[in-house]
Point group: C2
Chain length 197, copies 2
């Protein structure tokens, strides 16, 4: 990239750090910044610094917040806790406007191959919340992959004996898709977890 002058090369380099952004896309982004009025570029830079300065993890659920405890933990009823891997999963579920309970962000899933056991994720904190009483159901919303499944199974074995219901998001054929094009693993689970009409 030495055909670019230093400040542009530097910015292209920064943009290349974003997920899925190659040199060419990074360059398009950099040109866009150069074309922006200075105040707008400054606002952009401030939003980046601002997010690092202001955003931290909720002391209860581990989701992003600007305060000590997040708005969801403060306002929602606590009978049902939805357990997710990452904060972005909270955003995905919140968008549905379908779930009224609170969340618990594990900040990872159990993955022995990567050396991540139950102690490396926020399992202890989840048990502490259950220990405070009033929790009736834990919905495990980890991804339907090997480590997501393993984590769900581990949590179920740990929490069921405490008298709390543990459920998991349903797997099956995505709505609007066709059986013909559904992958084998999904189709098998749809068959095994079939519902009575």
């Amino acid at each position: 990239m030495d055909v670019l002058i230093e400040p542009i090369g530097k910015l292209v380099n920064e943009f290349s750090k974003l997920p899925g952004v190659g040199k060419k896309t990074a360059q398009r982004y950099a040109y866009k910044i150069i074309d922006m009025p200075e105040a707008e570029a400054r606002a952009f830079a401030e939003a980046i610094v601002g997010v690092k300065k202001k955003v931290r993890y909720c002391s209860v659920c581990g989701n992003f917040t600007e305060k000590e405890t997040c708005d969801l933990c403060l306002r929602r009823e606590k009978k049902t806790i939805c357990v997710v891997k990452e904060p972005k999963d909270v955003t995905a579920i919140e968008k549905l406007r379908e779930f009224n309970g609170v969340y618990h962000v594990l900040h990872g899933v159990i993955d022995p191959m990567a050396g991540i056991g139950p102690n490396e994720i926020r399992v202890k904190e989840l048990l502490a919340r259950i220990g405070e009483g009033g929790v009736e159901e834990i919905i495990v919303a980890t991804n339907p992959d090997v480590s997501g499944d393993a984590t769900a199974l581990y949590l179920a074995r740990l929490i069921k004996p405490l008298g709390v219901k543990v459920t998991r998001l349903a797997h099956g054929i995505p709505v609007g898709s066709e059986i013909e094009y559904t992958d084998d693993v999904t189709l098998t689970r749809a068959l095994v977890e079939r519902n009575e009409l």
Copy 2:
């Protein structure tokens, strides 16, 4: 996007201003920033402000530079001037390491529908450079579209009478592509501008 807390929503909004970036991609970028060490995020923000502070247009060719006159204008021989629409076209041609002359960035092309005539782009500056003498060829490297073609034609009519050769980038079938899949306009030009073997 009101499921996101304010600093994240703000950053997602900023990223959405980049070309081709929707809400979903902007959110992925924002999460990446949150995951960065603070120093790295700060460097990112500084690169954005830095590019606005340091980058300006070369007083001779109109390309991006950090100085009064760009390195290309200072070092290259000035017999051949390659005329382009935007600074990014300079980058595209420089990458080839094939062209040894200097550039002239028009910062636009003639587009009567958008009210852009020869006075709105850097045509006057190009004539002034030719007037200084020593220029033997003007390569017009505007895009092969209506306004790019119109600008090339306009420049040719203006500059040829001054005794300077005016050439244009060749049009034709892209190398490695197939005739079957070449669009009609390109194929027609490839036929009309055919070369003797």
